[in-house]
Amino acid sequence: MNEMIITINNRKHSVKINNSSEVEINNRKVPAEISQINNNAFLLRYNNKVFEITAHKLEKEKYGILIDGCYFDVLVRTQIQENANDLQKNKNISAKKLNIKAPMPGLLLKLKKNIGDSVKAGEPLLILEAMKMENEIRSPANGIVKEILFKEGQSVEKNSIILTFE
């Protein structure tokens, strides 16, 4: 029970919390004890060392963790969530729909494609202006533009879907 699957840099770790002073990581028992300094700073006694760690929640299931100048994007799921997610993933692949999201907040400067245009992988789709720099967003795959959800001159939030194609 209580097993969690943690994904960091595409590697998976299994962590079980045995009690308030012991965890089991990848089937190894390790003494571990957490103390909280504030909402985002923690002390973790792990084996014979105390680590000072900064953490913030990025979104549901996702944490950003900074240890000694090393940053980790961490995905935490219970075993059940992990299984459910695997199922979902298979579904998405069969749908073959691709969303182009804004990698950063910015201003949609120029759209280079119209609905119905065919696009090759690596072809420029749009130009997003952020922090006074023009960033060209290129297509990750071949396809046909299905929808365009923003107009030129509109500002877009990070991760908002700008266009979709099949």
Binding site: I6, V15, I17, V23, F51, T54, Y71, P105
Partner: protein, 498 residues
């Protein structure tokens, strides 16, 4: 004597100038946009005034409003910091005409050096070596192609009004010319309000070496040695050092002399920087002059012990330089890392948000210049630089190991930063032995993005991160439980008071 300075800037540099004002017993007046209401420079200044809405064009770039405010509040001087209006000759002229002291060079010097092609002409006539290329703006794609063929590809297109990497494009052949030309022109227009571009021969493996100078209004010129700024990404400096490991005594003598010649050529006063490209055979070429205080000025302050901002204020108020060249020496070595709010693995996208936790690093040889604190917002409108970590050591090696230690101690939460990139850079052989050139990050680092650059020796940290996140996740459930309990007890207490 200057009694009150209006600081026409934000972020770490506004904060830095406030510190100099305080030490000189001068009143500091900050300006801020709506997005910066609680910014650190606003908290630290003696006075703070709302200047306008969040976009820079309506606030920190609003010339008329800034000068009007300076008059209203009785400021004798304006310090522009870097960026924004610092190199805007028109603004400086307006300040000069208003009778307020501009803490920086004259509008004439700025105009001469700001128009890059006229600066190149001026350098050429004063025997300061320049990169081969045009000394006038290019008028058409065809003209550009013709000149490119003459000097030979690859070439560099640059904004005549530019700086800071904006409006700059490398072109390797005729086919690339037109689109690069249009994008460079477009970017220049946006960033500088002028779309003139010129061509330079692209030098393959240069180092970026620059010289800090100080000059008073009486014709006295000094240099504060060189800085090494070759660690760059998309022409934006990432790490700077002083002195440069690649500059020997003879080259130092030549390049600092050339820098002073360049400053004299435009009758410069106040603090300024002359940037050069240096080839592997130690020949160097004038790149441009930055007619303002620079981001990386602290590394020079660390090795010379001279407070450049205070010198700027003294020079502006009409004092003579009391420093003598023969007394200025290089003491030890300093390195600076620029901490940016950016998500490196997500195409270096700016990371915006609220700083929810911030703990500075300290200890021997460490200095931090910062524009943020806990609860500061990192808005989308401005440059995403958060702070600068500067490490000093008796030699380069000590400065580097101190930097490594300091970056490990730096804690920040709420935005994603580029701190881990420095951990990578500071371990690279080419960085440590000093043989890197300005292509270092583009060639060695960029192919490893995203994710492949992540430290392989931090397996232990990865495990710790996994355990911590599992504990946090399980605590989340506990926390929601305890929340419920508190709510119940409150209810009970409320009833009691009624």
């Amino acid at each position: 004597m200057i009694k009150k300075i209006l600081i026409a800037n934000r972020g770490e540099i506004a904060h830095r100038i406030i510190k100099a004002c305080r030490e000189l017993d001068i009143i500091s007046a900050a300006i801020y946009s709506e997005a910066d209401k609680l910014a650190l420079h606003v908290r630290r200044a003696d006075e703070a005034y709302l200047i306008g809405p969040s976009p820079a064009s309506e606030s920190y770039l609003n010339k008329e409003k800034i000068i009007k405010l300076a008059k209203e509040i009785g400021a004798d001087a304006i310090h522009p910091g870097y960026g924004f209006l610092s190199e805007n000759a028109e603004f400086i002229l307006m300040v000069e005409e208003s009778g307020i002291i501009f803490i920086g060079p004259s509008s004439k010097s700025v105009k001469l050096m700001g128009e890059k092609t006229s600066a190149r002409r001026l350098m050429k006539t004063n025997n300061v070596p320049i990169v081969p290329g045009t000394t006038a703006p290019i008028k058409s794609v065809d003209e550009g192609k013709k000149i490119a063929a003459e000097i030979g590809y690859p070439v560099m297109l640059k904004a005549a009004a530019g700086g800071g990497g904006k409006g700059m494009r490398k072109i390797s052949n005729d086919e690339e010319f037109e689109s690069a030309y249009n994008r460079a022109k477009n970017e220049s227009l946006k960033a500088f309000g002028n779309d003139d571009v010129y061509l330079e021969k692209f030098i393959e493996h240069p180092k970026h070496i620059e010289v800090q100078i100080l000059a008073d209004k009486f014709g006295n010129y000094l240099h504060l040695f060189e800085r090494e700024c070759s660690v760059q990404r998309r022409h934006q400096k990432v790490i700077e050092e002083a002195p440069s490991i690649a500059v020997d005594e003879l080259t130092r003598k030549k390049i600092t002399n050339a820098a002073i010649d360049a400053a004299k050529a435009c009758k410069y006063y106040n603090a300024g920087t002359i940037e050069f490209l240096m080839d592997s055979d130690k020949s160097f070429y004038f790149l441009e002059m930055n007619t303002r205080l620079q981001v990386e000025h602290p590394v020079t302050e660390m090795i010379t012990g001279i407070d450049i901002v205070k010198q700027q204020i003294k020079i502006a108020s009409g004092e003579k330089l009391t420093l003598r060249q023969e007394d200025i020496r290089i003491h030890g070595h300093a390195v600076e890392c620029r901490i940016y709010a950016e998500d490196v693995d997500n195409n270096f996208a700016p990371s915006t948000g609220k700083i929810v936790h911030h703990r500075l690093t300290s200890g021997p040889g460490i200095r931090i210049d910062r524009g943020i604190d806990v609860m500061s917002e990192v808005p989308i409108y401005y440059d995403p630089m958060l702070s600068k970590v500067i490490a000093w050591g008796t030699d380069r090696n000590e400065a580097i190991v101190r930097m490594q230690r300091a970056l490990g101690e730096y804690q920040i939460s709420g935005v994603i930063t580029n701190i881990p990139v420095f951990r990578w850079i500071l371990k690279q052989k080419v960085f440590l032995d000093g043989t890197f050139d300005i292509n270092f990050l583009d060639n060695d680092f960029m192919p490893l993005v995203p994710d492949k650059w992540k430290d392989t020796t931090s397996e232990e940290y990865e495990e710790v991160a996994a355990v911590l996140s599992a504990l946090l996740k399980s605590k989340e459930q506990e926390l929601s439980l305890s929340k419920n309990k508190i709510a119940t007890s409150n209810l009970w207490r409320d009833q009691n008071y009624e």
